[in-house]
């Protein structure tokens, strides 16, 4: 007989603290953040020039992200300015995607069977919040450098006035097309938001659902059969964390690069 567990998209509600509804996604996310802080403090307390294995693991992740950032940003100083948020999101997602691999994490259940701790990134609320964070950071960084130029990248009315002043119809047509494309870029920002959040959510949620269905098919498929699907889930967890961090970094670099004057950009290349 097959008993496939009930699958819901929304996280299960655990309690209420004042006006805030506490769900199991929120609790798991706080647990992941706490774990990150503890691991960070442990690694920092034992830093040495000859790294031990634990420190070497984090140095591996560190160099993986920093090398790519230096290639995209151009020089190391500007890469290091945006490095903290990209690396924090990367490690947060790695720990978050692998959270339910820790033993006994999924065994805390309430009276009616709802789990207290689950994979936090398998809920849409977290991924949309992280996507807002990354894209909001890129916009805020660009506005902090020069707000007028940043808005001018989206609503390109500067060339229109120049074309009217020069009285050339070809330039006017090209600039009208540019205005339209600039307005489409605004919709592109919303598309970026939905795309990176949905990609992460879809991968993580589907991984969990596949294992739940395969284990629920019959009693004989509970032991060795979910293994390939679990390994696939491991692989996609790491790759999706990397892709999320890299895309966030690319958005930051493209928006900030569109605002810095061209002279500064060429002299760093």
């Amino acid at each position: 007989m097959s008993n496939i567990p009930e699958i819901t998209l929304a996280p299960s509600i655990i309690g209420q603290i004042g006006p805030i509804t506490v769900t199991n996604a929120m609790l798991s996310y706080f647990a992941v953040c706490l774990l990150l802080i503890i691991v960070g403090l442990i690694v920092r307390a034992k830093l040495s020039v000859k790294p031990g294995r634990f420190q070497m693991f984090f140095e591996l992740l560190f160099s993986m992200i920093l090398d790519k950032m230096v290639v995209v940003f151009g020089d190391e100083k500007r890469a290091r300015q945006s490095f903290p948020i990209v690396f924090t999101i990367f490690i947060l997602l790695i720990f978050g995607n692998y959270f339910t691999l820790l033993p006994l994490v999924e065994s805390f259940i309430l009276d009616d069977g709802t789990k207290i701790l689950t994979t936090p990134t398998a809920h849409y609320s977290l991924t949309i919040a992280l996507a807002f964070l990354m894209i909001g950071t890129s916009h805020v960084l660009a506005i902090a450098i020069s707000p007028i130029r940043h808005i001018g990248n989206f609503i390109k009315i500067g060339p229109v006035f120049k074309a009217i002043k020069n009285l050339s119809p070809k330039d006017f047509a090209m600039s009208m097309i540019d205005v339209f494309l600039g307005l489409l870029d605004i919709i592109g920002e919303i598309a970026k938001l939905i795309s990176i959040s949905t990609r992460l959510f879809g991968n993580m949620f589907a991984g969990g659902v596949i294992i739940a269905i395969v284990s629920g098919l019959s009693v004989y498929t509970q032991f060795v059969v979910p293994l390939p699907f679990a390994v696939l889930g491991l692989l996609t967890g790491f790759v999706q964390a990397f892709v999320f961090a890299m895309l966030g970094m690319l958005y930051i670099s493209s928006l900030v690069g569109g605002v810095t004057p061209a002279k500064q950009q060429t002299e760093t290349n």
Binding site: V209, F242, V243
Partner: protein
């Protein structure tokens, strides 16, 4: 055709049709990566890493159709 039947049918169609394009794209990326690796065996690791990342991004549209199918089924 009652609502339940149409729900199941549409969820299956959404996922099935959405996976076709992604499969083509990922195979194309993999093929080009194999070509590049054969031509330049020294850079095999870099090409492989970038191929994995490109395939993960390419899978996005299939994931969108998966999410739509899940929303149809469970919400």
């Amino acid at each position: 055709m009652d609502a339940e039947a149409v729900k199941y049918l549409s969820a299956a169609l959404v996922m099935g049709i959405g996976a076709i394009g992604s499969a083509f794209g990922e195979g194309f990326i993999g093929g080009k990566a194999m070509e590049a690796m054969g031509r330049n065996p020294k850079y095999m690791d870099k090409i492989f890493t970038n191929m994995i990342v490109a395939q993960a991004i390419d899978e996005s549209t299939a994931i969108y159709s998966l999410v739509v199918a899940l929303i149809i089924l469970f919400v």
